[in-house]
Structures are given as C-alpha cells and as structure tokens.
C-alpha cells in the first residue's frame, strides 16, 4: 500500500484480552502500514478494538492479554519482545497520548517532574537539563505560564491543560511515531479544536508519523491523510481519506458516514446505524457487520476476514464493495 519501506508495519495482529467472562478476541487480522511522517486515522465505534490495537503496538495491554501476529517498527519486531527491550522504545521512538487527561497524570507528582522524567530515563539527562527542556516543551504546547505549571500538580490544571502536558510529554524525545488514542474525546468542543490544531502543528513540525484513533470521522478528516476503519475487532476498510469518505467501499463505512450530520453538503438527516455491536464472545461468522447491514445477503456469512484490494491504494473487507452500496458519496457531497 505504501511504496517506500514503511515506518510501522502491522501484520495479522490479534489480541486476546483476559476478562472475567473468559478470553475475549478484541482484535484480529489487523494489518496495515504507516509511512514516515504520515498521519493515519483509525476509526470505529467504542469496543471495535481500536485502542487495544494501539496499545498492542507498544506492548501496553492489560495483564493476561495475549498478542499474535507481527508489529515491525523501523525494522524491529515488537510483538513477543521482552518489556526490557520495549521500554527504551516507549516514549522515545513511539509515544502515546491517552484518552482521559484527568487520570493520565500521576496525581501526587509535579508536572515538571513528570515531563522531565521521560527525558531523564530515555535520554539520560540530568534533572536540571530535563527541567529546562520541560519548560520549553510546555511553551511549545502553548501553555501560558510554563514556569508556574511546572511546579503545579495535575489537580490544579484543567483537562485541556493536562492534555497539553501529556502532548508535551509525548513530544519530549522527538519520537518518530505518536499514537493518539482518542486524545480529545474527554474534552469539551472548544478545547478539542485547540488540541487538534496543536497536534497537527506538532506532528508537522516534528515530522513524526501519527496514528489518530477516534470515533469521530470529522476529526479524522481534519487531521489525517489516510483512514483505517475497524468494526468488531477487524479492519473493514482502508484508504486515502478523500476517496473513502466520498465513496466508501464497505457497508459499515457507508453507514458510519450516513450517521454524520452533513455540515457542508445538501442537508440530509443523519441516519443512525440500527442494531448494536455483535456479542464479542460469539461474533457472527463471515462479515461481522452483516447482522446490522442493509445490503447483507447469504454470501456475507462465509466471507474471508481479510481486506481485499479496491482501486489500488484502497482495501475493503466487503464483498459488495464493487457493487451496490447504499450511496452517500457523490450525491450527499462529503467534500474533499
């Protein structure tokens, strides 16, 4: 899909979580690549396995999880590797920004120490140098009084400020890849916009690649050049943002787009996706979306779970990809 040697190559990634109800296959058959400096969106409903897939890249899954498949980052395999070998990569080459800034910082340690820490352990800097750079990083994420904030504790900052601090932390070692796991979901709308603008600018300036996980298609469209769509633990469609949004080739993507209120096209009431996510412990055979799909037929029950190429750059797991998907595309006018 990506012509040059990709920065990150995920192949056939599968994650099984350990839950009180038994093992849960949270993601499977996930394969995609991210090129250097590329911004890729990963969308899907809650529980579709997006966050789990991201955390699997860095080996940050909950206890008792098992991972199979392969994650190659800059020529190195990250799956099945000891914590000792992953730790030097975390925060330094691949950093991660989490969903809830209210709980993602240690409540009893000062901001300065928490930012400086990543520089100290990953780059071996001393306290003074790390603290000076932490101040600089806070200024870069547009925090007005960096000196004051350095000495403050998380509970003294707003959610937006805390997310800025976490972004500063993620940028600290100039990583080559930043995994953003719904970084704006827990924030109010105005703050969301500021944080998105900041993230876009930060990734442009640093030249870092980014995977932006979100359930918000509009946000992904603003920020990313390519999109991956996940449903019930599987990738169902991927491709460049424009074509995917204009002409979705998977019934789920199409349904997802129909569920968005059209801002810039002719007015059309959003259509919600009927039904709910399948039982994760007993997913339907074949295409997992077929239980909610309006175009599903008998052949969908025996579908291979892999993405099939569509139009060169794109891929879709829908066997109706080439034919009649209920169309939002051209008429409803998703711009791009």
């Amino acid at each position: 899909m990506v012509s040059a040697e990709p920065l990150l190559e995920v192949s056939d990634l599968a994650v099984t979580l350990h839950t009180p109800q038994g093992p849960l296959r949270a993601a499977e058959g996930v394969s995609f690549a991210v090129a250097a400096a590329e911004a890729v969106g990963l969308v899907g409903e809650s529980g579709s396995g997006k966050s789990v897939a991201m955390r699997a890249i860095l080996g940050l899954l909950p206890r008792g999880s098992t991972v199979s498949g392969s994650v190659r980052f800059a020529g190195r395999e990250l799956v099945g590797v000891a914590e000792r070998q992953l730790a030097p990569i975390r925060g330094r080459e691949i950093s991660m920004i989490f969903q809830d800034p209210m709980t993602a910082l240690n409540p009893i340690r000062r901001i300065g120490g928490q930012i400086g820490e990543v520089l100290r352990i990953q780059l071996g800097w001393n306290r003074r140098r790390a603290s000076a750079h932490a101040r600089e990083l806070l200024a870069r994420v547009e925090i007005a009084e960096p000196d004051r904030v350095l000495r403050q504790f998380p509970h003294q900052l707003s959610g937006g400020m805390r997310q800025r601090v976490l972004i500063a932390m993620a940028l600290a070692c100039q990583p080559r890849l930043i995994l953003c796991d719904e970084p704006t979901t827990a924030l109010d709308v105005t703050t969301q916009d500021q944080i998105l603008a900041l993230l876009r600018r930060a990734s442009d300036e640093s030249g870092a690649a980014m995977i932006f996980v979100s359930h918000d298609l509009a946000v992904v469209r603003q920020l990313c050049s390519r999109v991956l769509v996940m449903y019930a633990g599987r990738l169902v469609e991927m491709g460049p943002i424009g074509p995917v949004f204009a002409d979705p080739r998977h019934a789920y993507t199409a349904a997802l787009l129909r569920s968005l209120p059209a801002i810039d096209g002719p007015r059309q009431p959003p259509v919600s996706i009927g039904g709910e996510l399948p039982d994760r412990f007993r997913p339907p055979s074949g295409c997992r979306f077929r239980t909610r799909c309006t175009v599903a037929d008998d052949s969908c029950a025996s579908l291979p779970s892999t993405l099939l190429p569509v139009d060169g750059e794109r891929g879709s797991a829908c066997i109706h990809a080439a034919t009649g998907l209920p169309d939002r595309g051209a008429e409803s006018g998703v711009s791009r």
């Binding site: 914590e83 730790a87 330094r92 709980t103 240690n106 409540p107 990953q122 504790f153 509970h155």
Partner: protein, 313 residues
C-alpha cells in the same frame, strides 16, 4: 500560615481530649476495689495501719479534693510521685522509656520492611502462587494472639535453638538489635498482618490506574516504576491505617514486654496496676493517650504531604 493555624487547633483538641482521659481514668481508678495502702502493706496490715498510710498519702480526703489537687499539679507538668518507687513518676517513666522506644523503632522498621516487600511481591504477581501465600500469611498473624506468637518464638528461637537471648535487653546497638529481635518480630507480625492487606490492595489499584499506563508509555518499568509511580500513591490509604496500628502496638507492647522481660513502660504499667500505684498508672496512661493523639496528628500531616490534593484545614 493556614497550616500553623490548623496545627494549633489540633493541639487544642489534643489537650481537651487529654483532660477527658485524665478525668475518666481518675474516676475508674477510684472505683477499683482495694487501694494503694492495702497493696503496700500486705494482707497482714491492721485497719489502723491502712488508715494511717491513707492519711499520709492524702487518700482519706474527699475524691473531688484529690482530683482538684491532682489536676493542679498536672497543669504544672507534675505527675506526682510514684507510690511504689517513691520517686517522681516522670523520672520512673523516663527510665523505662528508652527500652520501649527501641522496641517501637525496631517494630516500625521490621514491619515497614516486610509490609513493603511482601505487599509489592503479592501485587506484582497477583493471582499467582506467591500472592496466595502472602495473602494467607496475614490471616495467621491476625488469627494468633501476640502473647502466643511471642511465647512460641521464645520457645523455638531462644530456648530450643538459642539464636537469641530469652529476655532482657543487651547493651549497645548490636546487642539491642539481637536481644530485641524476637519481641520486635512478635509485634511486627501482628502489625504487618493488617498493613500487608491494605497495601497490597492499594498497589493493585494503582498498578491498574491510567497514570501508571502513562508512566509505562514513557518507558518506565520494573523497580523504578514501582518506586516512583506505584508505591507512593498506594501508600496513602495505608498511612491512614497507621493510627489504628499504633494503638494496637501499644497494647501489644504490654504483653510482649512481659513475655520477654523487657524493662519498658509496658511492664511498668502492669506492675503499677498490680500495686495500685495510681500516680504511675495515671502518668503512663496519660502519656500513652498523648502519644496516640500526637501520632494521629502526625499521620494527618504526613497524609497531606503525601497527597497534594489534601489540604490541612
């Protein structure tokens, strides 16, 4: 400034509470059958002898007058003279205090060490065999009374296998370390039993929290992760338990000092009671109450230092 005001107010409460304790003690000691004169003179004493001694000690006066007299001296910091030792209570307690303090420091060191180590092990390997073993240990600690643990340790490691002296307290740091090991261990077992459970729970909660995930995403792992981001956070709820633990420690010291023949305050109190030495008993009880109240105040201060979200008001 706010902190100073808080401390002042808390110290005021401490004084009021101590006054309440002294009044309660005074009344309770009055209600005890027998009296110091009988205890001092023995069963062969005649009523005249008892009356004469009571008069000499001022114990024939009305209770209220005795109380006013006692309080008057207490306010000036005078706990009176011990009836048994014939010396000021303050001096008598002062002589016994070092042994008890050494024991207390030893217990704190042993129980902190074992609590942190075992709770961290259990939490890190939660659900595994080692966790189950560590979780079972406190049950033994809680289930067996201190005097029995003490007697068993004494029997095993001082009498059967004489690694440690059977009682008393030896000279010097090394001597104290050796001779106080068994009594300190006895108390540490019951103290750790409470603390391990609390700290393990706290550690597991913190290990599963979001900010530990952030720390791991920064590249922290192993001991460094636990020491910097897990233990300090997990210790907060356990610190609040310490007040309770301190009280049980005081009670335990009474028994352990007797079992191991340590000439400390606990033994002094037991002897004071046996011989109706009211000023001594009152003195020790008041000091213990003061210690408990001050330790609780200290714990609240430590709590506020550990957790910046808590402010002293």
């Amino acid at each position: 400034m706010q902190r100073l005001g808080y401390l002042g107010r808390r110290l005021g409460y401490v004084l009021i509470t101590l006054w309440g304790v002294s009044l309660l003690l005074f009344v309770m000691l009055q209600l005890l059958p027998g009296g110091p004169a009988e205890a001092m003179l023995g069963i062969t004493a005649t009523q005249q002898q008892v009356d004469a001694l009571n008069q000499e000690l001022g114990l024939d006066r009305p209770v209220v007058a005795q109380y006013v007299d006692y309080m008057g001296r207490l306010i000036r910091g005078d706990l009176g003279d011990s009836l048994v030792f014939g010396r000021p209570v303050v001096d008598v307690i002062g002589d016994a205090l070092p042994a008890t303090l050494k024991l207390a420091v030893y217990v704190v060191a042993l129980s902190t060490l074992s609590t942190v180590t075992l709770a961290t092990l259990a939490a890190s390997f939660r659900g595994r065999a080692i966790d189950h073993v560590i979780r079972a240990l406190p049950l033994i600690g809680v289930g067996m009374p201190g005097f029995w643990i003490g007697a068993m340790l004494l029997f095993l490691f001082a009498l059967t296998f004489p690694f440690f002296p059977a009682g008393g307290i030896e000279e010097g740091f090394a001597g104290a370390l050796r001779s106080l090991f068994l009594p300190a261990l006895t108390l540490a077992i019951s103290v750790s039993a409470i603390l391990i459970r609390s700290l393990r729970r706290g550690l597991i909660d913190v290990l599963e929290s979001d900010h530990v995930l952030t720390a791991r995403a920064k590249g922290l792992r192993g001991v460094r992760l636990v020491v910097r981001h897990v233990l300090p956070n997990a210790a907060i709820p356990t610190v609040t338990l310490m007040g309770l633990v301190f009280v049980s420690l005081l009670g335990g010291a009474l028994i352990v000092e007797s079992v191991f023949a340590i000439p400390g305050v606990g033994q002094l109190l037991v002897n004071g009671f046996k011989r109706h030495d009211m000023p001594l008993v009152m003195g020790i009880a008041l000091l213990s109450a003061a210690a408990i109240l001050l330790v609780n105040l200290l714990i609240d201060v430590v709590y506020s230092l550990l957790d910046p979200r808590v402010s002293l008001r």
